[in-house]
Symmetry: C2
């Protein structure tokens, strides 16, 4: 399936010809690797959200920061939009190309510039893979905490752009909580440093603003991350429940007992069965839900916490609790969770992965409502998610070849996200808004807030050349989506560019 | 001593008369408490940084959010600047009034709206005192981690505005890391919610941007903070050193040993002697420096960590290590540190408190350079600070009544901050920029960055009515300060308002 990107709605006006841009760049930056033939461009037409595909006008693959800078300066002069791409593993289409724009691929910047074991920091080029950071830090007994499922492939630059999460984020925070400093090039190609290696930084917190900004504020050229000491020991408990709501309630009770697990994940029956069939993790096939709870730290601590959690789980009505005997069994327990998405993918020709968040206390009620939506729509929905964070990943199963099922899946997905917002949550926990959830932003935010987002964007990029059409919808789009009343097509600040 | 604020440099053009503004507000918001007589205004002429004093035009003390909203709407209509003030304990003049502006005092908003022990959150009005949060959370075994020295008096709204720190911030983060959601009124009086009670929030991270924005982006009306479980046990070690550099080195070694203490504070000889004389904390009067290291968590963990830290301290050359026997002695050990500022204040008619940060590894070298600056200038400098964070608080002792000493103290202070910036640090760790360090911002940042700050400010407040003249210097001011070259008085974006 393929949903074409309607550039006319959100994209800036393009007044250039592809051949002219290509010629200009070849002339000014002769060393720059530029792809321009249809067959070379095709591999870049989507990121991890393959439902959206656009062939970029040109793909630039710079090898040096000088080339990146020169490219930005030329694009700025020519008024050509730029979409930056890391490893292309994003799940919301944040790196979806523009038909009339440059795709700037940063995958050649893969050097770990330095590791300071005393300060517990690592300086990285943006293309360094997430897992490579922990691998390089391992000899010092350190690791990098945020661990998106794609960590073997995704890059730290993309992690910052999407403010990536992962299993460990419950305890150790999102990317924004683990990044100290980011160097960027502005849309004009000027270098700028956000944050510092020291505590805090004066002025407005532009570093936090950059995290999750999806390539709309600048191009990341270097990142300094915090490293953490590897926990002495990690244990995992697997609890079975005969009722999804009970499992949801247990999640809140664990946290309320004063414990923040290293990971606290939930899977429902459909997900359990799919995962078990795929990787034989030893999951209980008769359970309505399981919780996987990892506890890490020093031995005595972890032993105490295991006892407490076991107690909470029993009181919450767990029908069975198993503790992994050793690290090998711990890895097996996790293998089912980590492969849950592809496992569910084997059940159905297509699935649609949601990423809503809710306050933890709302878990039982929202799970109940998702089950009702599944019954009403006739579409199966598997739940696999970061329960401790209240970060849900309902997977809506459908068959795009059946008339109307794609539309129905999208409708159900939209309803789930609206339910998350109504529960005090948000439309994305860790996958970003990108292209996919741009309409839902109109449910999440009012016109004043959207206008403010545009004004902040304009502070960095007045012409709207960096990744236009992602992350922040235009007010016109929100009006069209039906979620916002725009009166006489008037904005609060009519002088703010609409990109 | 009193340094008059030259409003002409940074303040917006005022085209209103005090009597007209007073009349307008009295007419439109008859219930609003407004102070306008000289003797009523005087108590508000400074915040915790008493060196700067300005009598505000009017003081507004609203009792309801409707009054705050109505006030902002009128001020916006009239073009009157607004400075928001919490408890007035800030140390950088962030709440310094404007001679031609309203001082909006939020101290009547003192309700704790709710505490949710399961979600571990508290919803607060902005005037709630920092310590009152932990007191209210105590029955649930919870507390609020950031603990500025002024926590008995300072308010959570001011904490957010200044992104306040404290002893516990090494382990538990600054205010920004402990706030989930903030409700504001914009400069136009429109309500807006930043952040969410759920994990992350889509769009740009405006919540982080608001933290530390010093009242320039909006008026805070409600805050939801995270609460943490109270640690089971806390122990404190006091180590003596015969050399300041050795103590500085030990700080880095503790962190490098994989331990993040609940607090890691350093005091040098002058500070030790002053504190001991003031509160008899049992400090070693012959030591050149002491470290206070608090370890908190579960018993077994804390015992292990105490052994490790003791070992590191011995290897670093500590001449004596004492462990507080019980909570009473622990409180005594801390009393010296917590009273260090007033204790040093007894040594000298005046002192100037700096707040620079540096990467931890630079501690020994920078301490050395501060000692050299003290020798060269003839001014005594006491060091009392959050060593684990690299957040230094050199206290420069001087006598304002002696010809030239104030200027000399300011010069030495400026040099210390420049040394911090050169070491990769920043000009403020937790006290904010406010009015005090506005010139040093020109050392910390280049013209492009300052311009970007102004553009972000303009996104929220195009006319520059909220706390003008604080936090972000004008480029003209930087040029005058000599730290920035402004060519032909031209800015990168000449359309951005200069406030």
């Amino acid at each position: 399936m393929s949903i074409l990107y309607d550039e006319a709605i959100d994209g800036p006006l393009a007044t250039f010809a592809k051949a002219d841009v290509l010629g200009d760049l070849q002339q000014h930056i002769p060393t720059l690797t530029l792809l321009h033939r249809e067959e070379d461009l095709r591999p870049f037409e989507c990121d991890g959200l393959a439902a959206y595909r656009v062939t970029p006008m040109l793909v630039a693959m710079p090898a040096t920061l000088d080339e990146v800078q020169a490219l930005l300066k030329r694009c700025h002069a020519l008024g050509v939009p730029v979409v930056t791409r890391g490893a292309g593993t994003g799940l919301s289409g944040g790196a979806l190309p523009l038909e009339r724009g440059i795709l700037l691929v940063m995958s050649r910047f893969q050097h770990i510039l330095s590791i300071d074991p005393d300060a517990r920091t690592a300086r990285l080029q943006p293309g360094v893979r997430n897992l490579a950071i922990s691998e390089a830090a391992a000899p010092y007994g350190l690791y990098y905490a945020p661990d998106p499922s794609s960590q073997i492939a995704c890059s730290i630059g993309g992690n910052v752009a999407e403010n990536a999460g992962g299993v460990h984020c419950l305890k150790y925070g999102l990317t924004v909580n683990n990044v100290m400093r980011v160097d960027i090039l502005t849309v004009e190609g000027e270098p700028m440093t956000l944050g510092a290696e020291a505590l805090d930084a004066p002025g407005f917190d532009l570093l936090a603003l950059l995290n999750g900004s999806e390539g709309m504020l600048g191009v990341i050229t270097e990142i300094t991350v915090k490293l953490l000491p590897k926990p002495e020991v990690a244990k995992v408990l697997m609890a079975s429940f005969d009722d999804v709501e009970k499992a949801g309630q247990a999640v809140g009770n664990i946290i309320a007992a004063g414990i923040i697990p290293g990971g606290l994940e939930m899977m429902d029956k459909l997900a359990i069965q799919a995962a078990e069939d795929f990787v034989q993790a030893g999951y209980p096939l008769d359970a309505e839900a399981i919780l996987l709870c990892e506890l890490d730290g020093v031995q005595a601590d972890v032993d105490d916490d295991c006892d407490t959690v076991r107690n909470v789980l029993e009181k919450a009505g767990a029908t069975d609790i198993r503790q992994a005997r050793d690290d090998a069994e711990r890895a097996v327990f996790w293998s089912g969770r980590k492969n849950a998405f592809p496992a569910v993918g084997r059940l159905s020709p297509d699935y649609y992965c949601m990423d809503g968040t809710i306050p933890r206390r709302e878990l039982p009620a929202v799970l109940n409502d998702i089950a009702a939506l599944s019954r009403e729509s006739g579409l199966r929905i598997a739940n696999v998610f970061h329960a401790g964070d209240g970060n849900m990943h309902p997977l809506i199963l459908f068959d795009a070849n059946r008339e109307g099922e794609l539309a129905l899946a999208e409708e159900v997905g939209g309803k789930i996200l609206e339910r998350c917002v109504a529960a005090g949550g948000s439309i994305t926990g860790e996958h970003g808004v990108g292209r996919e959830k741009i309409n839902q932003m109109c449910s999440q935010f009012g016109g004043d807030e959207i206008t403010l987002f545009h004004a902040v964007k304009a502070a960095f990029d007045p012409q709207g050349l960096l990744n236009p059409g992602k992350n922040i919808p235009t007010l016109a789009r929100c009006a069209e989506f039906g979620a916002m009343h725009v009166h006489n097509n008037e904005l609060a600040h009519p002088d703010i560019p609409r990109f």
